[in-house]
Structure formats: structure tokens, C-alpha cells
């Protein structure tokens, strides 16, 4: 197989505060191929956004990427200087954020915000940049893009604003787009629509997509791979079929159990008992220990990554099902 669009190895991002060090992202590794969609799933606070920001070099004080490699098309970008990273951002790696009401600058027109994104990386005239912006808007399904360009963000609906943000992310046909819960704030129908449109576009341009969500059902049908995150770690990863049909980590199983569509009629929705642990005070060993029905003395040690079958890995001493590799 060719060089993957993104390969993350042992990424750790920590926040230091007076109360202690928060290991928001801890030894995270995953790979995304060109044109593929990887779903990064986990409860709120599990470190998904910080993982995304780390990829773009957008982690602010008091946070810092303390270890790991981020190979974008084979090149390690984790240790680039600020300037080098800036030239990469928006061009080779782009990001779409959660709240479309907040991501566009309210006092700048849409064309201003798109033209500057083009001109930040290419020395083209304003007119050329504007034409590019217009085409990008058309691409994401915004009608009469020429007129919409002169509008301000508040003149768009939430879904349309998110489309503008996606159009901006696609401007330079990046190798990778990190989409951080971009549809969570939107209507369910619009969610599905945007997700599938975006998947189409990424396949067309060979752009790899990391789709962050706390809701497994959103990406179950569209992702190629899934990585499940818990308390800063990836506890299980594999292809969609591997993870959804044969969940090995008790946490993954809990997540699947809490998805309504997979719950048989009449059966009560099973949530995951317990609460997300305090990040400053994680249990020693497996962080899921305090909520896990299978926990025993061994779980007080750090579970390493086990490969259950090709492409399917987890971090659990007592996986739900034993697979013959």
C-alpha cells in the first residue's frame, strides 16, 4: 500500500496546571489512508478535540505535544517550526470545528474569510481567489454562490455556515481534514446530509478524513475505520466491521449498547454505568477500571496494545471476546 495520508505514532499531549498534569492525549497511534474516513469516537472529555488540535499544531498554552510522531504523507510534522506549520495548515491539513455559529468571524464577510484562506498559501490575485472561493461554495451545495459570497456569516443558517467552513477546508484540496463534531450542533437530517456529502468530496479528492464524534451512530454507516478513545487513550481500533461487530473492549461494547438503533425493540437502552473519571486523578492502570464489570487485579497495571486480528487492536486484559488471530 502507498504511504498513508496520516500516520500518528505515540502522540501525547499534556496540559500542565497548578493542580497537576492532565494527560489529555496519551500514547495515541492510528493510521488513515488517502480518501478514507476514520471515526474518532469517545465521550466528551476523552481527548478527541485535543488530538485534532495536536495534528494541526493548534494546541495552546498550557498544553503541549510532549511526544510522538505525526506523519503527514510520510513526513513528520510534529517537530516543525511555527512558520513551517503555518504554511502547512489550511493547505495540506485542514480542520472543521464543532460550532458553525462560532467558527466564522461574525464581522467579516464570507468572501473576505475565503479569499484570505486562498491567498495565505498561493500568490494569486483577489479576483482569482474569489473565483476559487465561489467554486468551493458551489461544490458544497450552496446555491447562487456569487451572491452568498458578499454576505455575512449571520445571514446563513447553521448548516450553511458549516458548509462554508467545509468549503474553506477544501479550498486547497488538503491531504487530511480533521472534522471535530462538525454536525453535532445541527439538525439530525442536515447532519446525515453533510456527512455523506463530505465523504463524497473527500473520496473524490483523495482527502483523508478524521471525523470526531461522541455519537457512534453518526459515523457507523460511513467510516472505514473507527478508533475508540477513552481518557486520552485509544482503547480499541479497527475497521468499522471489526469494531462494531466484534467489539473487544468493554468500553466499546458499552458505547455500542448505548446506540438506540442497535438496541432491540422493547429492551431498555443500556448506558455505561459510572462517570468519566477525573482527568487529574485517573485510576492507576486501566482508566476504565472503576466502571468496568470485568476488572480484576491485573487491570491495576497499564494494559498494553493487543493485536486481536490484523488491523484490529485494543487495550484490555480481558477482552469481551477472544478472537483467533
Amino acid at each position: 500500500m502507498s504511504v498513508p495520508a496520516l500516520e500518528v505514532r505515540g502522540l501525547s499531549t499534556h496540559f500542565s496546571s497548578r493542580a497537576g498534569v492532565v494527560r489529555a492525549v496519551d500514547d495515541v497511534s492510528f493510521t488513515v489512508q488517502r480518501g478514507e474516513v476514520m471515526g474518532l469516537v469517545g465521550e466528551s472529555g476523552s481527548g478527541k478535540s485535543v488530538t485534532g488540535f495536536s495534528l494541526l499544531g493548534l494546541v495552546d498554552e498550557p498544553g503541549r505535544v510532549v511526544a510522538g510522531q505525526i506523519l503527514l504523507e510520510g513526513r513528520d510534522i510534529a517537530k516543525l517550526s511555527d512558520g513551517e506549520m503555518r504554511r502547512l495548515r489550511g493547505r495540506h491539513i485542514a480542520m472543521v470545528f464543532q460550532d458553525p455559529m462560532m467558527t466564522l468571524n461574525p464581522v467579516l464577510r464570507v468572501d473576505t474569510q475565503m479569499i484570505e484562506a486562498v491567498q495565505a498559501h498561493e500568490p494569486v490575485s483577489r479576483a482569482v481567489a474569489r473565483a476559487r472561493a465561489r467554486d468551493a461554495l458551489g461544490l458544497v451545495g450552496i446555491s447562487s454562490p456569487e451572491e452568498r459570497l458578499s454576505a455575512y456569516p449571520h445571514q446563513f443558517s447553521g448548516g450553511m455556515r458549516q458548509r462554508v467552513a467545509i468549503a474553506i477546508a477544501l479550498l486547497h484540496r488538503p491531504a487530511l481534514i480533521v472534522a471535530d463534531e462538525p454536525t453535532t450542533a445541527l439538525d439530525v437530517t442536515i447532519q446525515a446530509q453533510i456527512l455523506s456529502e463530505m465523504q463524497d468530496l473527500c473520496t473524490r479528492f483523495g482527502t483523508a478524513l478524521v471525523w470526531i464524534t461522541h455519537d457512534l451512530s453518526v459515523i457507523a454507516g460511513l467510516a472505514d475505520h473507527i478508533a475508540v478513545m477513552y481518557a486520552g487513550r485509544i482503547v480499541e481500533k479497527g475497521t468499522v466491521d471489526q469494531v462494531l461487530d466484534n467489539p473487544l473492549h468493554p468500553y466499546t461494547q458499552g458505547l455500542i449498547g448505548s446506540v438506540p438503533s442497535r438496541t432491540p425493540r422493547g429492551e431498555r437502552l443500556r448506558g455505561i454505568p459510572g462517570m468519566t473519571p477525573n482527568v487529574l486523578n485517573l485510576p492507576v492502570g486501566c482508566a476504565f477500571r472503576t466502571r468496568c464489570g470485568r476488572a480484576d487485579a491485573q487491570c491495576e497495571e497499564d494494559p498494553p496494545e493487543f493485536a486481536a486480528e490484523p488491523g484490529h487492536a485494543h487495550r484490555c486484559f480481558h477482552p469481551v471476546a477472544e478472537l483467533v488471530a
Partner: protein, 324 residues
């Protein structure tokens, strides 16, 4: 937009009208104008004649109407002291006050915005901390005390800068200005800084707060995610959002600056409106007091109107609401 403007203009008109009533009542009704205006040793016939000539025997509403028509014609009576139309006396002093106020506002913008940006971008630096501490002093120390200290240090002790008067002036459009001569400019330094200190502190803090608020916002992070240079992120994305509160406050403060130049002008013997009104109050030069009050009201109303317009230009969200 135009109906909005019309509505604002009508509102402004009513404010001015309300102020004429207040000024009229304040100066003509509270306290007996006869006692003020007519010599105490005049006899009864002289009194009656004076009352009639001043129109004080007419019903109050008629008195108000003739006062109002005077205001409309710019006729606010003659100054007792200068024996000239009160409005002219004031307007002669207006340029001196204006150039001081404009200089003060320029100082607050040109120093305040960069200083505020710096303090917002490097909040933990030594410089930012001193700026914040200094701005608290600028807020809380009384302006007259700072003015006196400035005179003590820079004029008396060091002898660097003059502390009284406008210095040499030169005419432009038939008006004398200090800022056109070197000597005049030097004379402006201390009073304009004194007048600026409050606004300067305000702008520094406002700008800093704006930067602190904008930096962690999603739109700034998104702008950075696009690969924009830090210059563009701060200079365009952050600045455009900060300008809204800064322009609003500066606009409103401009009128206040003129009104409060009273203190600075008195300390630095700057021959502007502020010094004039203090002198007029001490000798009860009633027409001048009335003219000054009306002028200040007009100024506030006009400035508020301009600020509202600027606000509409700067903030597209307001623009849309007003169309609808």
C-alpha cells in the same frame, strides 16, 4: 436604514428639546431671576420696567417659547461680562477646547490600542502588568492632582515644558490654532496628556479585554487553522471585533472629554470653553452658562448619533437588524 436614521434624528431632536426645558427651568425658574438680574437698590418703577423688558411678567410657557425661539436663532442673550452675544463668546473659545480634546483622543488611540494589544497578547509579561497597574492609576487618581503633579515635575522641577496658556497660535480658516506652531504644540503637551489619561487607561483596558476574549474564540482558532499569519489573525480578525467597543467608547468619551476639559483647562490656564464656564459661573454670567449647556447638549446628541452610525458601519449584525 433611512427610516432608522430618520427615527434616530427625531429622537435626537426630542432629547435637545427636553434639555431646553431642563435648562430653562434650571436657570429661569429655580431661584428668582429678578434677584439675579435686577440691582437690589432699584425702586419699584425701575423693577417693574425691568421685569417687563425681560418678559418676566408673561406666563411661564410664553417665557419658555421666547427662550426657545432665541435658542433656535442662536440668540441666547448677551454676556454680562463681555457684553457680546453669549454664543459668540463661547464659540470663540471652542477651537482651543476642540484642539485639546482631539489631541487627547488621538493620544489615547495611538498609544492605547497598541499598548492594549501588547498587554492582551503577552498578558504575563512584565510590561503588560505595569500597563495594567498604570491604567488603574489613570482611572482612579483625580485628574486635577495628576495635572498639578505634571506641572510640578515637568514645568517647575525639570523646566522642560510650559504649563500655562496656548503658546503661539496661527490662523487657519480665520481661527487661531496652537497645533500649527512649534511653541503651541509644546504648550499642548502637558494639558493634552492630562486630558487623555482617563481615556488612555480606558482604551488600554478595553483593547486588552477584547484581545483576551477573542484569542481563545473559535473564529480565531479557525483563522489560525486556515494558516493565516499571526499578523493577519490579530490585525484583521481580532482587531475588527475589538474596534466595535473601542469606537463606541471613544465616541461617547469624546463628548465627555470636552465637557470635562473644565478641570484640565483650569489647571493649565488653557483659554477654552471649560475655563470660560468656570469663570462665568463665578460671576453668574447667566447667558454664557445657558449657551454652554446648550452647546454641550448638542455635542452629546451629535456624537451619540455619529457613534450609532459608525456602529452600524462596523457591525454587520446591527446593520441587518435595522433593515428588518
Amino acid at each position: 436604514m433611512s427610516t432608522w436614521l430618520l427615527r434616530r434624528l427625531v429622537q435626537a431632536l426630542f432629547v435637545v428639546l427636553a434639555m431646553t426645558v431642563i435648562v430653562f427651568v434650571g436657570v429661569n425658574v429655580i431661584g428668582n431671576p429678578i434677584d439675579i438680574l435686577i440691582s437690589p437698590d432699584a425702586n419699584a418703577a425701575e423693577r417693574a420696567q425691568a421685569i417687563a423688558s425681560l418678559g418676566l411678567d408673561k406666563p411661564l410657557w410664553q417665557q419658555y417659547l421666547s427662550f426657545l425661539s432665541g435658542v433656535l436663532h442662536g440668540d441666547l442673550g448677551r454676556s454680562f461680562v463681555y457684553n457680546e452675544p453669549a454664543m459668540r463668546v463661547i464659540l470663540e473659545r471652542l477651537p482651543a477646547t476642540m484642539e485639546l480634546a482631539v489631541a487627547a483622543v488621538l493620544i489615547s488611540i495611538l498609544i492605547g490600542i497598541p499598548a492594549g494589544l501588547y498587554a492582551g497578547l503577552r498578558p504575563n509579561s512584565w510590561g503588560a502588568r505595569s500597563l495594567m497597574a498604570g491604567s488603574i492609576l489613570g482611572f482612579s487618581l483625580p485628574s486635577f492632582w495628576i495635572g498639578l503633579m505634571m506641572i510640578m515635575v515637568f514645568s517647575v522641577q525639570l523646566g522642560w515644558l510650559p504649563s500655562t496658556g496656548r503658546g503661539a497660535t496661527r490662523a487657519l480658516f480665520g481661527v487661531q490654532w496652537s497645533f500649527l506652531t512649534r511653541d503651541g504644540l509644546v504648550h499642548m503637551i502637558l494639558p493634552s496628556i492630562n486630558l487623555a489619561l482617563f481615556n488612555l487607561s480606558l482604551i488600554i483596558r478595553l483593547t486588552r479585554a477584547g484581545v483576551r476574549e477573542a484569542l481563545p474564540s473559535e473564529y480565531v482558532r479557525f483563522a489560525r487553522a486556515k494558516g493565516l499569519s499571526p499578523m493577519r489573525v490579530v490585525g484583521v480578525h481580532v482587531m475588527k471585533n475589538i474596534l466595535i467597543p473601542v469606537v463606541t467608547v471613544l465616541g461617547l468619551e469624546f463628548a465627555t472629554t470636552i465637557a470635562f476639559s473644565v478641570v484640565t483647562e483650569s489647571i493649565f490656564a488653557w483659554p477654552g470653553m471649560g475655563k470660560l464656564i468656570i469663570d462665568s459661573i463665578s460671576v453668574l454670567d447667566r447667558p454664557v452658562i445657558v449657551a454652554y449647556l446648550m452647546l454641550i447638549v448638542m455635542l452629546f446628541v451629535t456624537v451619540n448619533l455619529v457613534v450609532d452610525l459608525l456602529y452600524v458601519v462596523l457591525d454587520p449584525r446591527v446593520r441587518l437588524e435595522q433593515q428588518g
